[in-house]
Symmetry: C2
Subunit: 381 residues, 2 copies
Amino acid sequence: MIYPRDPDRPEIAMGARARRSPFFDRAKARGACMYSIYNHMLMATSYGNPGREYDLLMNHAAIWDVGVERQVQLEGPDAMKLAQLMSPRDVSKCKIGQGFYTPILSRDGGVINDPILLKLNEDKIWLSIADSDVKLYAMGLADAMELDVVVTEPDVSPLAIQGPRAEDVVAAVFGEEIRAIRYFYFIETEIQGIPVVLQRSGWSKQGGFEIYLCDGSRGGELYDLMWAAGETLLGENWGPGTPNPIERIESGLFSWGTDFDEQNNPFECRLGKWCDLDGDHDFLAKEALLRIREQGPREQLVGLHLAGSEPLPGAVKPMQLTRKDGSEIGTLRASTWSPRLERNIALARVLTAESELGNTILAEVADGSMVEATVVNVPFV
Amino acid sequence: MIYPRDPDRPEIAMGARARRSPFFDRAKARGACMYSIYNHMLMATSYGNPGREYDLLMNHAAIWDVGVERQVQLEGPDAMKLAQLMSPRDVSKCKIGQGFYTPILSRDGGVINDPILLKLNEDKIWLSIADSDVKLYAMGLADAMELDVVVTEPDVSPLAIQGPRAEDVVAAVFGEEIRAIRYFYFIETEIQGIPVVLQRSGWSKQGGFEIYLCDGSRGGELYDLMWAAGETLLGENWGPGTPNPIERIESGLFSWGTDFDEQNNPFECRLGKWCDLDGDHDFLAKEALLRIREQGPREQLVGLHLAGSEPLPGAVKPMQLTRKDGSEIGTLRASTWSPRLERNIALARVLTAESELGNTILAEVADGSMVEATVVNVPFV
């Protein structure tokens, strides 16, 4: 067998190492045709029609297989202690049934991940993670300190309903009372006997819920239930989607691994506001963060407007940023044409000295040429 | 823009999160047309002609971009101490300039990874890892114990030359003296000013070397050098390849994440021989392993011969294994048609009670039907 060769449209390799979400077959049947791998699992990233997917998210509602958003479960008497070691927020303030967005930091202040922390009870925490093995860092701490906590990846897989009509779809299935759930709060419930955690959350700014399926054998049933509700309510204005690369940049939602990683500290990637250095709580990175705050960060995560009134191809790798004299000052991490702003926008990391609003620099684009770029605020809209 | 939709041949998504090896552009120019993501980096898995790639590996030589095989560097006075905490082997026996294959174990005995440990000097270790963030586990231990060690992912990217003629190709570039390098031993050297570590190693049983590029900006140069040497020496019998899914199963080379993961202990995945429980060295998992050895492992990694004289499609996900009465006994992890054996073979994990050689069970194949399977020894050839 010889495969069709097209190095410009490469296929993704399948195998047991690229795990499948419980919704995989349903997403494929709905037309998923492009994937990444995220937390060792296949993640659908396109259904072939970016314009329609953006429209559903902005104006209607869509269903996203985000089973790749794995949970790291800390369970046992030391669960809260372990969570606090890794978080610069005072996690004792998180209520049962609440979620906290928090950086997860190593002792040197590196951002290992930026999950939502869900407090299920005093002895049970989930970290709903981005694409790095937080479980291994948590296990390393627990193993070394002999903490009384078990760190696992439980059988929990989120399915997101996102968009301005998402609440209506979710209410049609789970009942009107879910409208009272506040942002990042959640309930443990079930639907037709399928155990789920239902949270007002999701990786968009268009509103919606994440339904954390707690029994992977029932993914198809849950997907079908939600699909039917969406179709009944919204007809053509309903369909599959994915974490949206356009909306997330416009809205200034960060992507760990794309925009920054564990080589960055929180002050370099707009996460400083989540670092509470003046509270009574202690955490591993506190000393490092006090020092970095004093010295000032080396670089900053900024927004850029890119010159030109036509869509540029999106960056598929980090692109160079330079001063006008050609000297390097950082990298462009992700870019898109913004339908709302009708211009090209990007997220970038630049030296702090070049990060002031209005500064004009040069950015490499896909064909290798350099275009003028202006530092602007994030979010863009 | 609407993408061509083909859910059966899905594309891989590109972006800054899927990092690129220093050899990426060269591999693409040579026809890489299928990728996975491994250690947060794009890994070429096919050049479109599996038959030729297998032939080059078995009978000639091939060049593989294995930059995804990242190094976790432990550097500082406590480097050896940290390595020993994670390894069941007595790492003090590893000489400077030597590599040790070793499981990396958590305190409960889970196999976090199975790297080659390279001892560069008394204070500097590399773990040349499979696809999990070992760095985070090592950092967790070091952060909790306040060890005097810095854990990093250095700018080091292996390029493999594999096959029976690989040594000739490498000798043509690095000199005849490299023929004296023993298996898993390495030298630090440079070629045309490019710093590399050269090791007799690689994820095949056909012989060869891995050239660990130590300056990512020079990947193109190194690739071109090796390419030219191979072409001069071997002409048509030279080309690009990848870690080979056929040869690796035939040869019984394991793939962490495919065949087993951190939910398995070493006795479940044929790694028991690397667990030295009777030496003087201590390590985190020792107590757990003594207990598991006493109790016996729950399941075993075995080889299977699958019925049928025609090639079956390779498994792209874990497939069910059952007794003849239909009761579940494990999962088939990876399968292939073996050109050397002219039969279908597979690696599988089955309950210990079903693991004896010659036991006959049923295995699910790609179309959902069940075929007869017989437990056999690994390696297959």
